[in-house]
Amino acid sequence: MMSQPDRNPAADLTDAALPKSEIRTTVSFLLFLHLFGLAVAILGTEKPSQLGLALADVPGLKQYREGLLMNLAYTYYLTRGNNVGGELDIDHSLIATIKKKGEPDVVVELPAPGTWPGLRRHRYRTLARTVAMFGDETIGSPEPLGLLLQSIANSLLKEYQGDSLDLRCQGRLTLPAMGEFDPTNAATFARFRDAYTTTALRIDNQIELLKREPARDTAPPPKVNLPPKADEPVASEPPATEAPKASEPPASSEPLNDKS
């Protein structure tokens, strides 16, 4: 008898404990589909190739991955993206100043100070960061931004029975880089920056959103006296406008919501 060095009596014993061949075949097929779906999720979401995008759209597999929250590449930077220390890589909160005729303004902050436990706080910060991301001028998405802001504004105005509100998505900048950090300078511990601001008005039970230029904590770049290029609009100072009163139609506005 020829020797079979890979034949192990102990292995035979354990092989006997395996489930029936039909079960193994069926489960192996399902495992293959599942693992293929995982691979496609990575190939199709993180810097996808054309093939990756095509595979990611295979019907059935796409819904399976999305339904189980597996349609992502798991590239958890933890620093929340490549823009470390930048505008998006910070904690955000939503601050709404709710106005009602004849009554003092009500300021609502989400998360509210003292929100506990931490996961609740984290959810509100995630919501605020989502607003910041959707409202970002380079990577933003105006349509979902409008839907989300309408929902938030409608909720707050109904909760507090306001006529209008100013909503700020405020980011708290991280501590400066290690080499620049001065622990004796209290100002470095609390630096804020508005990522997005808007005014919401209730008009005929609809929410109208007025986009405003976000406030900046730094001076604008100096003006250079050059003629504009043919394909670029003429740069102009952002208009200093007050939020219009709820009873008056807005003088200049850039509604973000789709009127159906």
């Binding site: 929250l69 590239t75 409608n154």
Partner: protein, 327 residues
């Protein structure tokens, strides 16, 4: 020549097939899976319970995330299923919420585990999909752990199911089957292997993502993480004068991630890697404030602990009676 090639490929297919069968189907003790069930169940319960104060404020008819607006966003983003898309009245929301918490509690306690594991997955996904704009890193990891727990006998140990089974076995010993009481199941192996493979993939992609950034190379990432003062649970401002420590912390975490993905597969080194993961994830959880995410990453990593090692650990903390196969 053709015969040699044929023999070669036949040999490969036999070896691969045998290895595949042993990797996925060799029956194993579900003790590790049961421990993961308890811990993941607690995390899922906590995650859903923290929706309680904000349930109506978020999901109600005039909630921050109204069905009308956010539902339209959802349609544009991706496929989701959640029973919370079907109703937003406060009464229905509260009923669904308390039922969901009850299901998660039963799953954690190991009652009717085969059923409550599936229901728990549905409950958790319902919240995660409905509140997709407030989910972050933790939810997808918890989701796949809960999914894989549905596939194996996660109620064999540390469960009310076990208690009921023992009572039935002592009452009617003739009806007890050796297979039911032996503890070894091939489905336990499938479930544990899926957690292992998926987690190893997560570690791999996390490392790739982090090494795509300068801060994880230059050793300052932990400083930037802790610099988000509203999230961080500890202040490391004093470490500004100890950059080497910050560098070590940062690079140490990356090395741990690489090492875990490779060395945790070794039965001898797995307990060591799991131990290191506890410290690593605790440290990252404290500087990021993302303790639930750190917790679920650690819990999923327990899948690499062999059942015999898990039994030793259970013995060490006084849980021996609950971790023995029912004789």
């Amino acid at each position: 020549m053709r015969d040699i090639a044929a023999d070669y490929f036949r040999s490969i297919s036999e070896q691969v097939g045998r290895a595949w069968n042993r990797f996925w189907f060799l029956p194993s003790d579900p003790l590790t899976l049961c421990v993961i069930r308890v811990l993941a169940g607690l995390i899922a319960f906590y995650s859903v319970a923290t929706f309680t104060p904000d349930l109506i404020f978020l999901f109600g008819p005039d909630g921050l995330l109204s069905i009308e607006s956010v539902g339209r966003m959802q349609d544009q983003q991706y496929f989701s299923f959640s029973y919370f898309w079907l109703f937003d009245s406060p009464g229905a929301l509260w009923a669904a919420h308390w039922i969901g918490l009850s299901v998660l509690a039963m799953f954690t306690l190991g009652l009717f585990t085969r059923i409550t594991s599936v229901l728990s997955l549905i409950v958790a996904l319902a919240y995660f999909h409905r509140g997709f704009v407030v989910t972050s890193e933790m939810e997808p990891v918890l989701a796949f752990v809960l999914f894989y727990l549905c596939l194996g006998p996660a109620g064999e140990y540390f469960s009310l199911d076990r208690l009921l089974l023992k009572r039935r076995a002592s009452a009617t010993p003739a009806q007890a089957t050796s297979r039911r009481l032996s503890g070894a199941h091939w489905s336990a192996t499938v479930a544990v292997r899926l957690i292992q493979v998926h987690l190893a993939l997560v570690y791999f992609m996390m490392v790739l993502g982090q090494l795509n950034e300068d801060t994880w190379w230059d050793g300052t990432a932990v400083w930037w993480l802790a610099g988000r003062q509203d999230s961080a649970l500890i202040s490391i401002a004093s470490l500004a004068s100890a950059p080497y420590l910050v560098n070590l912390w940062t690079l140490g975490f990356v090395i741990f991630e690489i090492a875990f993905g490779v060395l945790a597969w070794n039965r001898l080194l797995a307990p060591l890697m799991v131990g290191i993961s506890a410290l690593s994830w605790l440290s990252i959880g404290l500087v990021t404030g993302m303790l639930p995410f750190a917790a679920i990453m650690f819990v999923a990593g327990l899948a690499f602990l062999p059942p015999e090692t898990m039994r030793v650990a259970c013995d060490a903390i006084g849980l021996k009676p609950y971790a023995q196969p029912v004789a």
